[in-house]
Amino acid sequence: MPNFVMSYLDPSVTGTPGAAGSQFWALIYVFIIFTGVSVAVMAMNWLERKALAHFQIRLGPMRVGPHGLLQPIADAIKLALKEDIIPAEADQFVFWVAPLIGLLAAFAVYVVIPFGPSQAVSDMNIGILFMLGVSSLGVLGIVVAGWASNSHYPLIGALRSSAQMVSYEVAMGLAVVSAILMTSMNASGTGTLSMIGIVQAQQQQGIWFIFKFFPLGFIAFGIFAIAMVAETNRAPFDMAEAESELTAGYHTEYSGLRWSLFMLAEYAAMISVSAIAITLWLGGWMRPFPNLLHAPAWDFIFSLFPGLTFLGLAAIAFIGTVRMPAHSFFRIQRAGLAAFAAVLGFIALLLLVIAVAGRSADASLAARFNQGIGYVYWFVLKVAVFMYLFIWYRATWPRYRFDQLMRIGWKVMLPIALGVLMLTAIVGVMVS
């Protein structure tokens, strides 16, 4: 068993995560990712409400737990306990199965997302193709939900969503292809569709693809970044659930647990498309400047980041504890926040200890843990930046109209994506 752990954490066994272990480890990863993403969705729920509130000069949730930290849990309990309503006119089976389709599609993408060179469920050799295919399935859940509700607003929402999907998948796919073209800029001249391979190609070429053939990589990334917002039905492209127009769009008739499954799928999809953008253009799990600043001292400095981040969070929580009003009403909240600060501080300490203990580049367990934590940390940090952008968009922009969105997809983004693809190919041939 320890050998399994050792071999699995070994970054030299790259490209074949499954080889180290077997399906057993894949199962473990599936479990970790499922819980991890679910927790991330809850955290995201809280963060979105808080960040959005602060954009809008509000406080957001403040009552359930210190600074509303327990709000997602309260919400989850509330939603789970709500009456399960299926409209009488609805197609019962399809109505029941629709949120599951969305959820399945959102979570299946995580199979190919690499959190590190060997920290992935599987290294499919057609990983990116799998991603494009499965993430497109998410719209099926929406369309089916809109149809099964047997109601006008959900139907229009579903139609909008499918039209949106058709308009954006093409440009998105072309942007992805231009990134794949870049992976073939090596000695052998062969590219890869494997998600892990794409990150490794960036490492070998010593450049994130967003900066490759500047500005071609940047434009392709921009197209993907716009298309992924449309793909996840988020503002300013949230016309499928446009509250002011269609009350709630495709999930108007849904409530309780089923509704929460849609939300879970939406946020999981947001995380997964961000993860894909990061993998393709922003160096995936790589820390900044892995080739330029590759001395062991730099490795050590960068490996301190996870611990320091948690230390910072613990400090914020601690300051919050101290600044809480002295009134006895806040006694429990203060204790709770102090405990939260203590937990964060403990995690920070643990991470720092691992960073110090594993600073040598040998094959000790600590060193491997240290590396693994580093990969996951940088990956999650990049995803978090994207999540913040999603919230920022929502706070700032009005909503596009349905036909305008289609026009942008077909008349603006598609030609640009095609042009970038051709130019990337031409420049690539000329360079090599």
Binding site: Q56, R160, L246, A395
Partner: protein, 393 residues
């Protein structure tokens, strides 16, 4: 009626072809592809209890039918059973986001009927409060309009700043929304100590805030796409339908009762009437934003030269206008708010009829949205700036 004399006044050049023409080809309403959607009365974006029946071809609007009356309280009938003084608070409940304007219109109408005049100081107080209320009304319009189009944040900015106006109202007369600020013949309350300072502070506070709203929206690409050439109404159509207020002015008609038929103390102040060109949603937005700035100008002048003196004119204890009838209208934030009062010489109006701007402007909805998409219906309902309390009365 006198017409405001200016070189561009009432230049009703039809910039866009009339959509009232019968020549406009009608889609067959019994097409099998059409979808009928009942929007409202419970809908997040109908600004209350407006019910719109949309006939859709896909998402394209073939026709609309507004069904109103969900908020009908019979205000006009109530007036017949109340004395003039007792009816005064009821008018606040019509356009409840611009209650001060309603009160001003009613009080001035009765004063005109009785042939009394409010003293200058009362008139200035009225102007200050009414213009503050205009800003508050436009802020509320902006917030909800932007929310309808999908921008959530301006709503909170405008409500934050509107709060300052409501605070002034509260300090002045004790109420924030349904203020009942004026009385027939003047004002009941003298300004509180520090009123002028509060108003001046507000002026310096809110001017940069209006820039802040504009920063978020005016040059925003999505905002432009959502509002330009959406809900276009030509000047001729607007006049034909009796549309007034910012909606009319955005179509290029320079018609503002504050200039055209000056009431209260408006003839003492210098201000411009902002007008638009295309009569689309974006122009209406710009006109209202400019109007807020003009209101600031008026308030500043009024506060600086507010005269001393009594605040109540010579009115008898029991209001008993002579037999006769009167129509008096003012420029409310949403358009021409008129009161037609028939007096039979008793203490109660024989008949009182309100000409509410929202009700008349709402008629333009159908020709504004025909041929557009569902999303535009929401934008247009927002841009007409209706308050259902006033539509239904």
């Amino acid at each position: 009626m006198t017409v405001y004399n200016d070189d561009t006044a009432n230049d009703v050049s039809v910039r866009t072809p009339s959509r009232l023409d019968p020549e406009t080809p009608e889609k067959p309403y019994l097409d099998s592809n059409e979808l009928i959607i009942n929007m409202g009365p419970q809908h997040p974006a109908t600004h209350g209890v407006l019910r719109v029946i949309l006939k859709l071809d896909g998402e394209k609007v073939l026709g609309t039918e507004c069904i109103i009356g969900y908020l009908h309280r019979g205000v006009e009938k109530i007036a017949e059973n109340r004395t003039y003084t007792m009816f005064n608070p009821y008018v606040d409940r019509m356009d409840y986001v611009a209650a001060v304007s309603n009160g001003l219109g009613y009080c001035e109408a009765v004063e005109k009927l009785m042939n009394v005049e409010a003293p200058p100081r009362a008139k200035y107080i009225r102007v200050i409060l009414t213009e503050l209320n205009r800003i508050a009304s436009h802020q509320l319009w902006l917030g909800t309009h932007a929310l309808d189009i999908g921008a959530m944040t301006p709503l909170f900015y405008t409500f934050r700043d509107r709060e300052e106006i409501l605070k002034i109202f509260e300090k002045y007369c004790g109420a924030r929304l349904t203020t009942h600020a004026f009385r027939i013949g003047g004002c009941q309350y003298e300004t509180y100590a520090g009123f002028e300072k509060d108003v001046k502070n507000f002026l310096t506070f809110v001017a940069p805030k209006i820039d802040e709203y504009e920063e978020l929206l005016t040059t925003n690409r999505i905002w432009l796409e959502r509002t330009k050439n959406v809900g276009v109404i030509s000047a001729a159509d607007a006049i034909a339908l009796g549309v007034t207020g910012p909606v009319l002015r955005a179509s290029g008609v320079k018609w503002d009762l504050r200039k055209a038929q000056p009431y209260a103390a408006y003839s003492d102040f210098e201000f411009d009437i902002p007008i638009g060109e295309n009569g689309d949603t974006y122009d209406r937005y710009l006109v209202r934003m400019a109007e807020m700035r003009q209101s600031l100008r008026i308030i500043e002048q009024a506060v600086n030269k507010i005269p001393e003196g009594p605040i109540m004119g010579k009115v008898p204890k029991v209001i008993k206008p002579p037999v006769g009838e009167i129509y008096h209208s003012i420029e409310a934030p949403k358009g021409e708010l008129g009161y037609f009062i028939v007096s039979d010489g008793s203490t109660q109006p024989y008949r009182l009829r309100v000409r509410p701007p929202s009700f008349v402007n709402l008629q333009a909805l159908d020709i504004m949205v025909r041929g557009l998409l569902v999303a535009d219906v929401i934008a247009v309902i927002g841009t007409i700036d209706i308050v259902l309390g006033e539509v239904d009365r």
